[in-house]
Amino acid sequence: MNPEILFFFEVLLGGLLAGVMYSLVALGFVLIYKASSVFNFAQGAMVFFAVLSFVGFMELGLPFFLALLVTVGLMVLVGMATERFVLRPLVNQHEDTLLMATIGLAFVLEGLAQLVWGVEVRRLDLGIPDVPIMWIADATGIFVSALDLVAGLVAAVMVAVLAIVFSRTKVGLGLRAVADGHGAAMSIGIPLSQVWVFVWATAGIVALVAGMLWGARAGVQFALVGLALKALPVLIIGGFTSVPGVIVAGLIVGASEKLAEVYIGPYFGGGIEGWAPYMLAVLFLMFRPEGLFGERIIRRV
C-alpha cells in the first residue's frame, strides 16, 4: 500500500483509539447528567481521586483485586456522601446551583486525594503491554498495542451494560424520571436519594476504570484532572444524555483531532489538537445543539 495512505489510516486508527479513551471519561458525565441534569465539574477530580486511592491501597499492601474492590467500595461511599451532604440539601434548587456545588466538590476531592495519599507521581502497571503487537504490525504496517485493544474492549462493554441498564431496567426508568424533575419523580414514589447514590457511585466506578487506563500510560498524578477538558467536546457532539452517543462522539473527536493535527496543524504552527475538537463542537452547537443523540428539549414559554 502507498505509504501516505497507510499513514493516513494509522493516524485515523490512532485517533479512534484515543477517542475510546475520551469516551470513557465522558461516560461519567453522561450518567450524572441523565439523573440530575447537572454537568458534573468534579468528574475529572473523581478520576484522579479514584485511581490515586486504588494505587494508594496497593501501596498499603493490598493485592490488586482486593485494592480494586476496596476502591469500588470507596467510590460508592463517595457517592453516598455526595448525595447526603451536597445534593440532598439542594433538592429542587436551580441546575446552576447544583453545577456550582460540583465545582466545590471537585476542589474537595482534589485536595483530599493529595492530602491523604501525597503528591508523588505513581506508576500503575496493569500487566498489559503497551508496545506494538508485532504480528499486527508485520501484517498491516500499523502499530497497535494490547493496552489500546483492552481499552477499546472495556469501553465497549461498559457502554453496552450502561445502555441496557438505562433502557431496559426500572432503575434506568427511575433515572430518566428524576432527570425530568426532582419533585415530580418524588411525587410518584421514586426514591430520589437511592437513584442519586446509584448514579454517583456508578460514575465513580467509571471514573476508576478511566483513571486506571489513563494512569497506566501517563502515571497516576494530578494531571489526570485535566481529562475533563477532553470529555467536553465529546459531550457536546454526542449529546449530554446519550450513552451510545458518547462512544460515537468520542470516536469522531479522537479521529478528527488527530487528522487535524497531522494534516492541518503544520499550517498553524502545530499543537492544534487542543482546540480543534472545540471548533468541531461549536459547529455542532450551531447546527445541532442537542448533539448527535441528545434529546431535543422543547420548552413552552
Binding site: G14, G15, V119, E120, V121, F143, R217, Q221, K258, V262
Partner: protein, 447 residues
C-alpha cells in the same frame, strides 16, 4: 491502615495550619534574615515543587542548625503558587515583606512562566530573581538584567550541550551532516525557548530540524509520535512540562517503536518522578543534569544526618533525599547562602542581615571554584562557575545521565560543555541588547 490514619491526621493538621495563615512562618529569632519560598506543592507540577522547595528548606534548616550564616538565623515564609503565573505574582506580593518586617532579597519561581510574570519588577523592588536552570535566557546578560541570574545554566547552553553529545555518539560534528532531529515540545514559550540556539546550530551543522508541538497537558501524544515515526529522525529532544506529559512521551515512543536511547529529555522532564510512571518504556532515555542527583555527596549526607536525623526534614517521604529535584533545590539554596556570606563580607555586615541591593552584590560575586565546592561537600554535584557584572549565568555545563529502570546512570565522566560556548554567549548578548533597545533600557557598563 495505620499509615492511612497517620496521613489523614497530618493532613488535617496541615489544613488547620494553612487555614490559620496563608503564609506559614518559619523560625523567628533576634539576628535573622528573611527568605521567601514561593512553593508549588499541589497541582500537576507538585512532584517537582515538593522536591525542589523541600531541598531549599532542608538546606536552610541545615544552615540554621549548624550556626546560621555567620550567626544570622534564616527565617522564611511559604506561599503556594500551584506553578501558576498569576498565583506567582500574588505570592510575590504577599512574600515581599516577611512576618518580621524584613523585605525579601531573593525570589525563585522554579518555572519560566512565573519568572516572566515578575521579571520586570525586580529592579524596582530591589529583589534578586534567582532563576536556577530555567527562565528568560538572555537575562544571563547582567548588563541588561542586573537583578536576574541563572546560576544553573540556561536552555540555550543546555540544547547546545545535547547536540554536542549527539555529535559525540555519532562520531563527531562532521557526521551530523544530513541527520534529522525532532524537537518535540510543549506548545508554550518554555517549549520554544531553546529554538534560537538550536536552529542556528542545526543550520551550521547541516542538520534537519523538525519542530513538533504538544498542547498541554499532553497526556495524549499519538499524533505527534506518528509524525515522528513518519519523519524517521535520528534523535528527539523532548521539552515537556509536568510528569504526565513527560511520562507519556516515553510510553508513546514505545508504542511507535522509537528507541529511547535516541531521546534526550530536558532538565525539567528528567527526574525520577518523570521516569518511574513510564515503567520499562523509560529505560534508556537520556537526560542532562545541571545538578547531579545522588547521595554520594558529603553535603547530602550531612543534611540527612543533621536535619532528617532530628526529624525536621521537609520531605514527607525521606527516601526522596538525593533525587533530581531535591538535589537541585539544595544547590539553589547553597547559592542563596553563599551570596548572603558574600554580601555580608562585601558590605562589612558579618553577623547581620543584608538588604536586597547588598544581596545582589553578593550573588554577583559568586565564585564557585572546585575548592569551594569541595569545602561545601558538593564536589561533582555542579560544575564550577564564576559570575560577574556581565556574566549572570552558571557554567552552562551539564552531565549526561541515562535511566536504567530504577535510577540514573551518570554516563559522562565530566560535565559536558557546548561545542562553542562563545557562540552561545554571543546569542545571549545579541538578544539582551535587542531587548534593551526595543524597550529603551540602559545597558550597564561593566568593568
Amino acid at each position: 491502615m495505620r499509615r492511612l490514619i497517620q496521613r489523614a491526621a497530618s493532613a488535617v493538621l496541615v489544613t488547620a495550619a494553612l487555614a490559620a495563615s496563608p503564609i506559614a512562618p518559619g523560625i523567628a529569632q533576634a539576628q535573622e534574615q528573611y527568605m521567601a519560598v514561593p512553593s508549588s506543592r499541589v497541582g500537576p507540577y507538585s512532584a517537582m515543587g515538593t522536591g525542589y522547595y523541600g531541598g531549599i528548606i532542608d538546606y536552610m534548616t541545615y544552615v540554621n542548625k549548624t550556626g546560621g550564616v555567620n550567626g544570622v538565623q534564616l527565617t522564611w515564609a511559604e506561599c503556594e503558587t500551584e506553578y501558576n503565573a498569576a498565583r506567582t505574582v500574588e505570592c510575590y506580593q504577599r512574600l515581599l515583606s516577611g512576618p518580621n518586617g524584613q523585605k525579601m532579597v531573593v525570589f525563585d519561581t522554579l518555572g519560566t512562566p512565573g519568572a516572566y510574570a515578575v521579571i520586570n519588577r525586580m529592579a524596582e523592588d530591589e529583589v534578586v530573581l534567582a532563576q536556577f536552570g530555567y527562565g528568560r535566557t538572555d537575562a544571563a546578560d547582567g548588563r541588561v538584567w542586573p537583578w536576574v541570574f541563572n546560576a544553573a545554566g540556561h536552555y540555550w547552553s543546555q540544547i547546545a550541550v545535547k547536540m554536542n553529545f549527539m555529535a559525540q555518539v555519532e562520531g563527531g560534528v562532521e557526521n551530523m551532516r544530513g541527520k534529522k532531529i525532532v524537537h518535540l515540545h510543549i506548545d508554550s514559550a518554555y517549549g520554544r525557548e531553546p529554538l534560537p540556539a538550536m536552529r542556528q546550530i542545526a543550520e551550521d551543522w547541516g542538520v534537519t530540524l523538525v519542530e513538533i508541538s504538544i498542547p498541554p497537558p499532553g497526556l495524549e501524544q499519538k499524533s505527534q509520535w506518528l509524525q515522528i515515526r513518519r519523519e524517521r529522525p535520528d534523535w528527539v529532544t523532548f521539552w515537556g512540562a509536568g510528569s504526565g506529559m513527560n511520562a507519556t512521551g516515553m510510553t508513546e515512543a514505545a508504542r511507535v517503536g522509537f528507541p529511547r536511547d535516541r531521546m534526550m529529555y530536558v532538565t525539567f522532564g528528567g527526574a525520577e518522578e518523570d521516569m518511574v510512571p513510564a515503567g520499562d518504556a523509560a529505560v534508556g532515555t537520556y537526560v542532562v543534569a545541571n545538578v547531579v542527583p545522588g547521595k554520594d555527596f558529603p553535603l547530602v549526607q550531612q543534611i540527612e544526618e543533621v536535619v532528617y536525623g532530628a526529624g525536621e526534614g521537609n520531605l514527607a517521604n525521606p527516601e526522596r533525599v538525593g533525587t533530581v529535584y531535591w538535589n537541585r533545590g539544595v544547590a539553589a539554596a547553597v547559592m542563596w547562602i553563599e551570596a548572603l556570606k558574600n554580601a555580608q563580607a562585601i558590605h562589612g555586615k558579618a553577623g547581620q542581615p543584608v538588604t536586597g541591593p547588598e544581596f545582589r552584590d553578593g550573588y554577583e560575586a559568586l565564585d564557585m571554584t572546585a575548592e569551594k565546592l569541595a569545602e561545601l561537600g558538593m564536589s561533582g554535584m555542579i560544575a564550577p562557575f564564576k559570575l560577574s557584572c556581565e556574566k549572570h549565568d552558571g557554567s552552562g555545563r551539564f552531565k549526561i545521565m541515562q535511566w536504567n529502570g530504577e535510577a540514573f546512570d551518570i554516563i559522562s565522566d565530566d560535565f559536558v560543555a557546548a561545542p562553542d560556548e562563545s557562540f552561545i554567549r554571543g546569542l545571549v548578548e545579541a538578544s539582551a541588547e535587542k531587548f534593551a533597545a526595543d524597550n529603551g533600557l540602559s545597558v550597564r557598563d561593566c568593568p
